[in-house]
């Protein structure tokens, strides 16, 4: 988490192998990312960008199937695609043209595509999500984070950029707080999310509470 322009998406792009970095090193399984080619990386991780514009009128189900490796068995692939569409609650829209869907629906179709990519490659890869909940309504925000938690529970790894701090502390095992391109704090949510951190990150005076079970934030406390 961190304010706009903190470098969260940039960091994610570097970790995805999409963007070159000027200094430091990024490794995956002990090998520098520059030694991985596109195909090998795709078997280890899947990436959900903030929004995807599709050039031609593909159907939602066809978009999801694009997450499959090139020579994946057809029937098995179709079954995976269907499972993913059910997972993101988009099965009813599978024969609709992607462009005609709403922003939130498109995001869920893309999530299904990314899930299919992970599942087709063994299911234990890394899932990189850049603001996966940004255009979703409340139940689908929760559903998306439940899917992410489920992937982590099944042995995969999840890295997500989240702006909703309450969702972030609820879903994350570990939080990395970034500001102006630097990590200023990282650790277990209950320990690092404090009034001071929120102020240091956003310049907002908010009170972090911990009433139900774990830390939570009352944005309204700004006005009191």
């Amino acid at each position: 988490m961190g304010p706009n322009g903190a470098g969260k998406s940039t960091l994610m792009k570097v970790m995805a192998g999409e963007r070159r970095y000027d200094s430091g090193s990024v490794t995956l399984d002990g090998a520098s990312l520059s030694q991985w080619d596109a195909g090998a990386l795709a078997r280890k991780r899947a990436v959900l960008p903030q929004s995807v514009v599709v050039a031609f009128p593909f159907l939602a189900a066809e978009i999801v199937a694009l997450g499959l490796p090139q020579y994946f068995p057809r029937r098995e692939g179709a079954a995976l695609a269907e499972r993913a569409l059910i997972e993101v609650d988009m099965l009813r829209a599978r024969e609709q043209v992607y462009d005609t869907l709403s922003g939130g629906e498109r995001q869920r179709v893309q999530l299904a595509r990314v899930l299919v990519q992970l599942w087709a490659n063994g299911g234990s890869g890394y899932l990189l999500l850049d603001e996966p909940t940004a255009s979703l309504d409340l139940p689908h925000q929760l559903a998306t984070l439940r899917i992410a938690r489920g992937h982590a529970a099944a042995g995969g790894g999840v890295l997500a950029v989240l702006h909703d701090l309450n969702l972030a502390v609820m879903a994350a095992d570990e939080i990395v707080a970034m500001r102006e391109g630097r990590v200023i704090a990282r650790g277990v949510p209950a320990e690092i999310v404090t009034d001071d951190l929120i102020h240091a990150l956003y310049g907002v005076k908010a009170r972090v509470g911990a009433v139900p079970s774990g830390p939570f934030l009352l944005p309204q406390s700004i006005f009191s």
């Binding site: 795709a42 031609f56 009128p57 593909f58 090139q70």
Partner: protein, 361 residues
Amino acid sequence: MIAGDAALGVSWRRAGRTRTILAGCALLLIAAFLASLAIGPVVIAPGKVVSILWDGLFGVRGSSSIDARDAIVVLDIRLPRTVLAVIVGAGLAVAGAILQGVFRNPLADPGLVGISPGAALAAVAWIVFGSFAAPYVPHFVMNHALPVAAFAGSLMAIILLHRLATHEGRTSVANLLFAGIALAALAGAATGLIIFVASDQQLREFTFWTLGSLGGATWQRVGLALPFALVLIAISFWIARGLDVLALGEAEAFHTGVNVERIKRIAIVIVAAGVGAAVAVSGIIGFVGLVVPHLLRLSAGPSHKTLIAGSALLGAALLTASDIFARTIAAPAELPIGVVTALIGAPFFIWLLRRNKRSFG
């Protein structure tokens, strides 16, 4: 919806329709092919055409004088021209489909964005200035250098277009069309200049290069264009799936495991080969590469595998039919075939622009 449908997730309805459409395109091509052999100053019945073709396949020609005349008309005059129309039409339509996939934009037509004009410029330059090299180059090489020169010209035009129109993996329509128009105008002007200073002997008319014609079709020209068109079509099937994924965006295609740079490089080279060969044997024929892939995307869906197969069939059918029209409407004079394709294509292009006013920004 049947249960089996749902179990397979991916649309079977579209798959079934796709097969029907491809079969329809193949039938259209067969019909256009036979019509092209049958229609002309001497009209020969389609059944007769088929039997002449069948006999011709075994080197047999009719014995009576009328049969012999018909066989000459069909096999020696109309067949090379028709086969050339099939090759050029298929090549241009598939080149358009691939080009649109790479630029992620349905408006990229080889003619509109300056690639065919680039090929024509290089071909004309070779015809005029290549003659200086003639004394030093074997005759065989000279004969086959024209499509290679056109290929080099179209390759340079695509690379320039890509440099000018694409920024950080994104191609805006405005940039694509502006850069394309500038390239087309520049190549056209340079072609005009070279033809103007060249002697008549060195070149056929300016209209051949700017509006295209299949008038000079010979088996030798068929032989020049065929390998390039076959390479284009065969390799485009190989990159079809990569182009599908590329529709998600370059970064997303990379995330999914596609080697984007390699796909783009292959696509650029094969499009240049297809367009170069088409231009070398028939001049600039516009709009085939725009209209055909678009009709197929509308009807059979955007998946590149069916798009390429359908474009090859429908492009060949469309150009064959256009050529029948071009050579019969004002007979014995011939209309440049580019006039016919532009008459079909330009209104279609305007309709496309209006229809997609919002979404192409």
